[in-house]
Each structure stands twice: as C-alpha cells, then as structure tokens.
Symmetry: C2
Subunit: 382 residues, 2 copies
C-alpha cells in the first residue's frame, strides 16, 4: 500500500465522509419511505437541515404553468407567510439556481446582489449564509433545495455541498414518485366521479347532486377530525353513493308522480346494488359501507339493513346528512326545493333519531364557517 | 486528536466503507427511481450482486396467502426454471432466514443441513457460499435477499453483510412502494371495470361483452408488439369503450325490433358520449381516442368522425375488431349468434375496408395460439 502523507488527517476526512454518507443513507431511507407528497416535501426540508447542520432548510418547487418557484413547505408560523412568496425564474438566489441549474455556496448572503430580501422580511429571519442546489429530474430542474445558516456561526464547506447535491438527487426521486402516485390517485378519483356523474345524469332531477354531496361530506368530515385516510374513503364513498341507481329503470327514475310501493322498494335497493357493484374490490372494502349504509338511521328505521347507532359507520352517517340536506334544498319531481332554514330545522329535529347528533353538529359548524358552499341552493325563504 | 494504533490500516477500512456506502447510495437511487414492480425486483437482484461482488443474486418473496417463498425474478433461461420453486417457511436457507428473521453468511453451503438443493439442481448451478438476509417492512419479513458465490473464489465478510443488510432495507422500501402503486392501479382498473359492467347490464343482450372485448383486445395487442404503456391504455379503453351507452334510454337499449333511423342515430352517439364523460381527465387523454374511435372504419365510412386509415389510433382499431368478433359470435336482439367460422370470414373479408389488416392478422394469430378464450361462444356451426 502506498504511504499516505498524513494518515491521521486523511483518516479524519474519511471518517467524516463515512458519517456524511451514513446520514445521507438514513435520510434517503426516511425520504423514500412514503408516497405522500406533503410528507415527502416536509421530510426533504428536515433532511436538508440535518445533513448540512443548518438552522433552516427550504424547498421551492417549479410551478410548470407559470414557470415560477414557490415555497412548498415552510415549517412554523413564519413559514406560512413565506409560502405566499413566488419567485420568477432568475429572481433571487433560488431563481438563479433554478435558471442556471448550478449549485452555489454563498458566505455573505446579505451582500449578494442576487439575494431576494422578501422572505427574510416576511419571516423576520436573518439569512447569513446559504447553500442552494437544484433538484433535477431527468435533467430538468423541478425545484431548489436550500440550507440556510450553518449552525454555530460556521460556514458551509465543499464537503457539505457535495452531500447536499446527493440529497437533492434523492429528493428529486422521492418528489417524482409521490407525484406519480398522486396523479394516479387523482385520475382514479376523477374517473370515478365522471362515471358517477354520467350515471346521475339519467335522473334529470338530480343535476349536480353527487358533486354537492361530496363537497358537503368533506366539509363535515373536517369538523369531525377524521384522519386523512378516512377522509379519502369518505370522498370516494360520497362520489359513489348513488351509483346503484344504474339498476333502476328509466320509467321509475323519471316518474314525476309519487312512486307506488313496488317502485319505491326498487329505489330503496340502490344502496345494495351500489355496494354490490364494487363488492369484489377488496381495496374498497372500507369505502363500500359508506355506499351501502347511507340510508340507515340511528333509530334502526333506515334501509337496507336496519342498522342502528354505532353499527352505522361514520362515513355513511356523514353522507346521510349531506344527502338529506341536498335533497331538501334542491328541486325534486315530487317537491319544490325548500329553504336552508327548513333544512336546518329538519336536520336538528332528526338529530338522534335519523342522524348522528355529532354529525349534524359538525354540519352546522361547517355551514357557519362557510365551508358548505350552497351556491345553487335557495336561501332564507321559509 | 487521539493517536490511532495503525492509521494506515484504519484509513484502508474507512476507504472501503466509503466505497461501500457510495455504491449502496448509487444502487439505492437506481432501486428507488421506479414504481414498476418487475423493474424494482430486477434492480434489487442486480444491486445485490454488484454491492457484494458475487456471481448471482436472488430475491424471494413471501406469498401471504400460502405463506411460502417464491423466487420472484431470476435472470436468464436457468432462472425461469428456478421460478417454479416454492419454499415453505423454514425450508432451505432462505426459508430459515424468513422464519427466524436473522441474517446469515454460510461459507460452505453444500454441507449446511438447511441447504435446499432443488434450486441448484434445476439451474445446474453450484452454490459455494452465500449471504442471505431478510427483507423486512415494518418489522415483518416480506422476502429474502440472497447473494451467492463471492467472486474470485472469495468469502463473504461481515462488512459485506453489513452493506447487504442496508441494501435489504432499501429493497423493502422500494418493494412496498411499488406494491402500493400497483394496488392503486389495480383498484382503479377494477373500479372502472365494475362501473362499466354495471352500465353494460342495463342492456340485457350484452352480458359479459365488456369483459370479452377486454380479453380479445389484450390478446390482439400482444401480437402487435404494443409497449407496456400502450397495452395499459388499451386495457382501459377496452373496458370503457361502451360507457357512453349510459346516455341511451332504456326504450332504445331494450328494443327487440329493428331500430328506426332516429333511434339508430342515438345509438351511434355512444362513442362520443363515452369520450365526453372522460374528456376532462387529462391523464386519460391517450385512452379516450380508443373509446371515441372504436366504430371508425379504414375506408372512412365509420362513425362518429369518419376518420380513415392511420387517422384511427391503433387501440381503437384493436377494440373495433374485438367488438365486432364478439357482436357476431353472441346473441343479440336482432340476430342469433353466428359461428366463429362466420366471424373469421367477416373479419377477413372486411380487412382493409372496415378493419386494419394487421389487426385482423394479429387476431387470427392470437386465436390460433389459444389466446382468444371464446368459451361462451358457439363454435363451428355454419
């Protein structure tokens, strides 16, 4: 083996490199273990500060439509203000990095002519020094990763930069994959919505019903502190809740007069048919109850299974309230649309018997907060 | 700084570690840059051999239903034979690793009592030594990664094992994410299929039509060397090709007699309506032409847009042949089902005018190869 000039110093350098690579490996694992966009972006920022030992990290992404950079996640209250900032390509240090595709260490940010002071101003933060690297996917800049203010008053080194560039590669991969996943999820949801919409259109009296029930359901869900995964299921169940109507003949669906008992029995089958249509898809097993049970009642007098109280899953209870509110406030063949006041009275009056009181309460809260967008609905006339 | 006993040797060790970590990092990047299951699995095996410098790598996955291990990918012709092997939990070295969750280096595999000789026998390969580590996701063993025969007659070291365990962590993440993606894709496809099926059921004369058109289309696609992504679009377009029928009234859809010209015009709108239902979903922009143009003809006499020749996208041409074959061979209100011979004659006779000749040819090839499963179809009676 060739003798090294200063083995102790070289050992130190290798030791540092091993430490950096190990940290990088660990951060990359964390970054790559999720497909949720928000989570990926948050983890990218945390990784940036940890790997480079700095005060703050930030991630800006390219908005392809406007060709601007926006701060995707910025942690804390100050971060929220920073999120309003948008940089044009070439504007600020991040804009310069995005435009040129080059990485940069800046020791004295305040005196750099490229520095955009807006972010500091908004967040009452003082940027001392900075490392800034492009996040590239297949050669194209999709964002910029920043590490700001080396801890303990230090400066960023070329070793820091080398590690940071490697991290940016990992961030790019994680971002692209989470985007692909989200795109597929959106496509699925939109296709389901489009088909549900087409099915709904057979019934000339329910134009836009599915969309409104979706919107109301999500608004209620927020006030019941549902988890993200439950909200996701709620959304899908709300969109699909009436697809079973595909099994009802035109002659019943379009009848203007009151339905006879036989016809009404057929209509009452739609939650069962809807659940059956999707029944064999095991990934939807937690969505289907939202479809099947959205006409159940707390007192057991609903259909099709006469469930009661907590036998009825929360997403079905939510859709039930949303569905009823929309039915009251829009025109139907057998009834004029009634006012929102009437709807409120009915929801309140049936809390505990037809509806879960907590859900009605959440609905009223959501309405007061302006989250129930009943634009197409007649207001205030009793 | 504390004096090291033998700085040169330590430097060597750190140098090796840096090299290992850098390779690991690079392999992890490759592994994590795809969400395709097959690709992830192939890359995992390549990474195993490269990182540990061995002759062969293999990946076994746990089949949750049977609790067996199977060789997921094995490269080359010999590999194909190995793929038939299934190990019970505890069986063979891989089975032992899966059962205990422990990692192992075995210097003399042939004399290890756990060794399952089946794989060597099938592949006429001689396993000398081996490293075998569990692939764990959230504490649960989902597979086993093997590295077989250290190159140049060497042995696997504990350093090798350490790197291999890190690689297994990356493999676990990549496998789980690609599984999640595939699951979402399957859910989307199954939901689209279920809805299309429900829409189809309104027409009592077309039971199972969509499923058969899907099956025939995919079979044809194989003989036209479509890329994986095109096959994916073809599958979706085939499933959705008739959803526009949701816009046709019961009275027309269920009419037993011949349709009058007005009614026929309405029926002919279904490709347009189908395309419109999905029209706003930009991710489906390459699927929609398969829906809209499946009644176009090569000679320009089709509908709705009177496209001709290469104006008609290949997936629409394929669905057209599949659709026609099914229409001829199944019973319709206005016609008895005809024999496969008649169908062949009609397809051949209309090649070049109605159908693209290459597509008809691919259909006939697929049929001869047994890929067109026309089980429900009357055969051979002219």
């Amino acid at each position: 083996m060739r003798k090294k000039a200063n083995p102790v110093r070289i050992t130190g350098a290798y030791e540092k490199k091993v430490a950096q690579l190990s940290t990088l490996m660990a951060l990359s694992t964390i970054l790559n273990s999720t497909l949720e966009q928000k989570e990926v972006r948050k983890r990218a920022i945390e990784a940036a500060t940890r790997l480079t030992e700095s005060e703050v990290g930030s991630l800006l992404l390219v908005d392809e439509e406007t060709n601007e950079l926006f701060f995707e996640v910025a942690l804390g209250e100050k971060g929220e203000k920073v999120k309003e900032i948008r940089l044009k390509m070439g504007e600020g240090i991040a804009g310069w990095v995005a435009k040129t595709g080059e990485s940069v260490i800046i020791d004295d940010v305040q005196n750099d002519p490229r520095f955009f002071k807006g972010a500091d101003k908004k967040s009452s933060f003082v940027t001392r020094n900075m490392m800034c690297v492009p996040v590239k996917s297949e050669g194209k800049v999709i964002g910029v990763l920043q590490s700001i203010n080396k801890l303990k008053g230090g400066r960023f080194t070329n070793d820091d930069l080398e590690g940071f560039i490697s991290l940016a590669d990992q961030v790019a991969i994680a971002i692209e994959k989470s985007r692909l996943y989200q795109e597929l999820r959106d496509t699925f949801f939109c296709a389901a919505e489009a088909l549900a919409d087409a099915i709904e259109k057979r019934d000339p009296y329910t134009g836009g019903h599915t969309k409104r029930v979706l919107q109301y359901s999500v608004a209620i869900g927020k006030y019941l502190d549902l988890k993200e995964s439950e909200l996701e299921r709620l959304r899908l169940a709300a969109v699909l809740h009436d697809i079973g109507k595909i099994g009802i003949e035109d002659s019943i669906l379009r009848k203007r007069d009151k339905l006879n008992p036989d016809e009404y029995e057929k209509v009452k089958q739609h939650p069962v048919w809807g659940a059956e249509i999707m029944g064999h898809i095991k990934q939807l097993k937690d969505v289907i109850p939202g479809m099947r049970y959205h006409h159940e009642r707390m007192d057991g007098n609903g259909y099709p299974d006469h469930l009661r109280d907590n036998q009825i899953p929360i997403i079905a209870k939510i859709i039930s309230v949303a569905d009823t509110f929309d039915a009251i406030t829009t025109e139907r063949p057998y009834q004029e649309s009634l006012s929102i006041d009437v709807a409120f009275k009915e929801l309140r009056g049936s809390a505990g018997t037809q509806f879960d009181s907590r859900v009605v309460e959440a609905f009223l809260k959501a309405y007061e907060a302006g989250d129930i967008n009943a634009d197409n609905v007649k207001v205030g006339l009793l």
